[in-house]
Amino acid sequence: MNKIVSKQRFSENVTKLVVEAPLIAKVRRAGHFVIVRCGEKGERIPLTIADSDPAAGTITLVIQAVGDSTRKICALEPGEFLTDVVGPLGQATRIENYGTVLCCGGGVGVAPLLPIIRAMKEAGNRVVSVLAGRTKDLIILEDEVRASSDDVIIMTDDGSYGNKGLVTAGVEEVIKREKVDRVVTIGPAIMMKFVSLLTKKYEVPTEASLNAIMVDGTGMCGACRVTVGGKTRFVCVEGPEFDAHEIDFDELLMRLKM
């Protein structure tokens, strides 16, 4: 049982929860995720860790309510409990001083991107962040991203905030104006697909963090399998980040509909 310490609603469907998980808070690194369960009959839901406070023994999760289980989690109030939290799972992001790193997040994907932005900045990179959302309300964690980025570009589909246009327009603008050594992208699979196609054109190495369907999250079920470089890989233990240019996004998009 893991207690909810605080809660913040980013938008109608996006909620931030700070959860007690002292062991995970101590060891987790950027890129790691957890599996949580809400209720004795609850589903196991993978969620990327957005932040942690080892001293307080808490981790931060940002959840988008898309189904019954995520809605249940978003409805939890401070003082209430998640039934289970296990992790940290997956492989941590490879953090190095690459030079200039473009971090590109869409919607709720900005939450797991934030620790990567911070770690890339700490490693000495110039960090340019591109945040995207359908509309102004769906741009989250902007202040936190700004605090660790050298430059931030905001894209909204409807132009209600930042620049009007798709995330790829923002990414292309950066790649055209300066040398980008690496791109990290987290967001809806369709967004990552187009970011990947773009960066492939410009030959910029790109990592995409995948949010696949999982049951156990430890390699047991294989529900999260994805084709990378023509080979089947398990997102839960070998990912969640893979070389975006090698990912079969069409298969991933198809499997996410199951």
Partner: protein, 485 residues
């Protein structure tokens, strides 16, 4: 090892042996396991084998000749004193029969249900040499364990005084539970770390309720708790805490029983289509997560379900699919029925329930619809060729004999590999090319002195009872090492 003759020479045993002639014992037919009717049982999740009653058990126990040199015990991976427990049943001392089981087995009610007794203890029974069916040792084991559970308060077995030495167990499946029970009896302070949210490992996520009810596993776990064993759920050793952290927390020995939970696929076209899944995924969703039975977790349903493979997991998957409402369930196995690794009983149950067997067939491709959902499988007919390394005749394709069968779901049950998560996290640990942990087969000790391992993480995919045997041997040897004996 147990001195079987010591108990055999007790007065009551001698008297019991003399109470009936060999002829009288020979004239009793082997008991048949009462079962739920196939038409009824596929509508529910109730246990298929209903268990024998006391009268049947006493009669069956009477068939045992109480041999001077019992061979059955050599077939038992945990060395249960089989004649002693059976003769206790014959004389009506059911509690003592159960206590005899508990001397060497932490999970008798489980073993009595899922052990392949026909390949182990019962395969050595003297009656087979007499051209008669073996004594139903498995049914008797189950009877004694169930009788105790249903008729007495759960008791703690005799335990040595606490020695204050902490040992850790990674994984709460059969090898880990067996190890934990034996170490607790020896006075050790045992903590079991489990990655999932339920204790029991494959006994919970893998074996279905209709073959092994969860309440039975939970009862055994409760017994271990009463013995002082501590359980920590949601802890993934190697991720949440490390092997080094365990040392810092004062653990002096570590047993790894993390299992073989890495599903194998066949690497054929279309295997990543929606509707193709591992048996691990299918069974975990249903058994562990209660999908389709009130749990929040979904599971795909379909009218026609194909299961690929010939082991117990394949049988469990076919029978689960029937119970989830599938109209047609096809088992596809590339060899013939004779080579199937599944227990005969499971094969028989699956057939009774209406599973169609397509032996000597192998899928070569799955075909999807425009939405990426599987709609058909292409099946290659096979024939048996020369024996392979395992001694079984290997299947070879019959040229041109390919057919397409419409299916809604395919469940791939072609085996599992060791889960590399734990072994990979321990620096310097000797791991084989198949990703199993390398141990001394006698002691179950790895190349790291305080680390022992057993079950599928060592064997790569075996049975509950072999895993328990490993846990037991590891406990004996680790205890000796830690106590400086």
């Amino acid at each position: 090892m147990e001195n079987y003759n010591e108990s055999r020479n007790e007065a009551w045993r001698e008297e019991l042996r003399k109470s009936k002639t060999a002829k009288e014992r020979n004239n009793i037919a082997r008991v048949e396991m009462p079962q739920l009717d196939p038409a009824y049982r596929i509508t529910c999740n109730e246990e298929v084998n209903q268990g024998i009653n006391a009268e049947q058990a006493v009669l069956e126990a009477t068939r045992c000749l109480d041999c001077p040199n019992p061979q059955c015990v050599t077939g038992c991976p945990v060395g249960i004193n089989i004649p002693k427990f059976i003769k206790n049943i014959e004389r009506g001392e059911f509690a003592q029969a159960a206590a005899t089981l508990k001397e060497t087995s932490s999970l008798p009610a489980v073993c009595g249900r899922v052990c392949p007794q026909e390949k182990q203890c019962e395969s050595k029974c003297i009656r087979l040499k007499m051209k008669q069916p073996a004594v139903a040792i498995g049914y008797l084991e189950r009877f004694a364990a169930d009788w105790q559970r249903n008729n007495t308060e759960q008791e703690v077995p005799p335990m040595k005084p606490a020695n204050g030495i902490k040992v850790a167990v990674i994984g709460s499946g059969p090898s880990g539970l067996s190890f934990a029970g034996d170490m607790a009896k020896q006075g050790f302070d045992v903590t079991v770390f489990e990655a999932l949210h339920e204790i029991g490992g494959v006994l919970k996520y893998g074996i279905p309720e209709f073959r092994l009810p969860n309440s039975i596993v939970d009862y055994e776990i409760e017994g271990l708790r009463k013995m002082g064993v501590k359980f920590e759920k949601d802890v993934l050793v190697g991720k949440t805490i490390t092997y080094d952290d365990l040392h810092e927390q004062g653990f002096k020995g570590v047993f790894v029983g993390s299992g073989a939970g890495f599903p194998r696929f066949m690497d054929i076209p279309g295997e990543n289509l929606i509707g193709v899944m591992s048996s691990n995924e299918y069974l975990t969703r249903i058994n562990l997560m209660s999908a389709g039975r009130g749990g929040d977790t979904p599971v795909m349903q379909g009218e026609t379900i194909a299961v690929i493979g010939g082991g117990n997991t394949a049988m469990d998957s076919t029978r689960t699919a029937l119970r989830m409402g599938a109209k047609r369930v096809i088992l596809v196995y590339r060899r013939s029925e004779e080579e199937m690794p599944a227990r005969r009983e499971e094969v028989g149950h699956a057939k009774e329930e209406g599973v169609e067997f397509m032996t000597l067939h192998n899928p070569i491709e799955y075909i999807g619809d425009e939405k990426g959902h599987i709609k058909a499988m292409r099946i290659q007919r096979m024939e048996l060729g020369k024996p392979d390394a395992s001694g079984r005749r290997s299947p070879v394709p019959v040229e041109g004999a390919i057919e397409e069968i419409p299916v809604d779901i395919v469940i791939v049950a072609v085996g599992v590999s060791p889960n590399q998560l734990v072994p990979r996290s321990i620096e310097g640990l000797d791991v084989s090319r198949r990703n199993t942990i390398v141990v001394n087969e006698e002691t179950m000790q790895s190349n790291i002195g305080d680390l022992y391992a057993g079950g599928d993480i060592v064997r790569g995919g075996a049975t509950v009872i072999l895993a328990m045997g490993d846990g037991r041997r590891a406990a004996q040897n680790m205890a000796k090492q830690l106590l400086g004996e």
